[in-house]
Symmetry: C2
Subunit: 258 residues, 2 copies
Amino acid sequence: MKKFIPVLLAAACAVSAQAKIVTKSVEYKQGDITLEGFLAYDDAVAGKRPGVLVVHQWMGLTDYEKHRAEQLAELGYVAFCADIYGKGVLPKDTKEAGAEATKYKSDRALLRQRVNAGLDELKSNKFVDTKRVAAIGYCFGGTTVIELARSGAELNGIVSFHGGLDSPTPADGKNIKCKVLVCHGADDPYVPAKDLAAFEDEMRQANVDWTLIKFGGAVHSFTQPMAGNDNSKGAAYNERADHRSWAAMKLFFAGIFK
Amino acid sequence: MKKFIPVLLAAACAVSAQAKIVTKSVEYKQGDITLEGFLAYDDAVAGKRPGVLVVHQWMGLTDYEKHRAEQLAELGYVAFCADIYGKGVLPKDTKEAGAEATKYKSDRALLRQRVNAGLDELKSNKFVDTKRVAAIGYCFGGTTVIELARSGAELNGIVSFHGGLDSPTPADGKNIKCKVLVCHGADDPYVPAKDLAAFEDEMRQANVDWTLIKFGGAVHSFTQPMAGNDNSKGAAYNERADHRSWAAMKLFFAGIFK
């Protein structure tokens, strides 16, 4: 006889207790521009393993993304935080962040070059199985990983967490070679209904393998504790949606990294 | 040193190899009407465990739902297929099915009574932990489990697979006490955009804990092999969406049956 055990509890047990996470800053280039990313992997894992690119929100590459990379390393992946803005470019407030993000959102070609440089850097890591690679991103980074897909990059999948979904060139959806998961706050005021509808149409027209999850009660930035917890501001942390979207990402990875 | 193992593979290993699934038909009543449900559980599991109600699509309680109940029993749950139409009522074609389903869709009070009778029958099973109960349903059954929630029934969660989302009384959303997961085909022509929007508003207004997953490329009946594979008919099986929605359901159960 056995006792009932919820099936997914067992998954938690599969995470090693002997994880030894190595982290370091890594300089790399896009054209003449020096970028500074952040690498994390578990030194106790042998051999090649899937790689996951992490793209930062509008404040640039912060401890938040570094912590996500460490969490991914604990799951057994090689994680690399891309730097889109350039070494030392860290907006000091939301005004600067808006200006910096807009540079790239209004020049998608440049944004694609920057994020592809990060992907190349990740793939060049000796521990990465280059046939099993994904990218995730938060807010601005969510938009960025969708642009990575639209650039025709070779990877298995992308996950956008509360990213903007608009595209100035929706026909580029046809370039997408990877699976797409969008984790979206159902009450996110920064992603208008028309953008959602246009995104869905882009995916549909291009016959992309896509899934979109709407988390009830969640607004923009729902994965980010630093956003506070006041939904009326339009951006706020939502623990429930944070945990569920992370679990959805793990399930997505289990599917694409078979 | 350890090799990389995708985290969720471990979950599969948690399913017992010694499962001994017991199944049987069960007569029960709603008022004076005799209903005939179907019970499935694993005889190798000791003690009480969560219970899951399964509600059939418009053709009535068929082998399809019985197989789902067996799959749920293999996961360790007590599964019970409700009978909404009544003992021996099995539409012989889609015309009869449409007429039968319409009886209940146009009399939501009766539909709620019928599905609550099934829930009561499940809860009366000696192996069911009545504090851990969910309901799932397909097409007409998806609509039905949402009505079950709207009736104010005491259970932990419901999952609708390609169910209709409309409500003649959207204010009843305020009665919902359980968590709600909707698995929806992004190309389902039988659930108009206005119904989706109204459903989301109903959940929002009532402050329900809800999640909606849109599966790209999927139409109505995407979990049902008997629907064929021609999307142009508006109802078709989609293996990808079937497997992913089942996995999403398991993740949802892991959350509500803690």
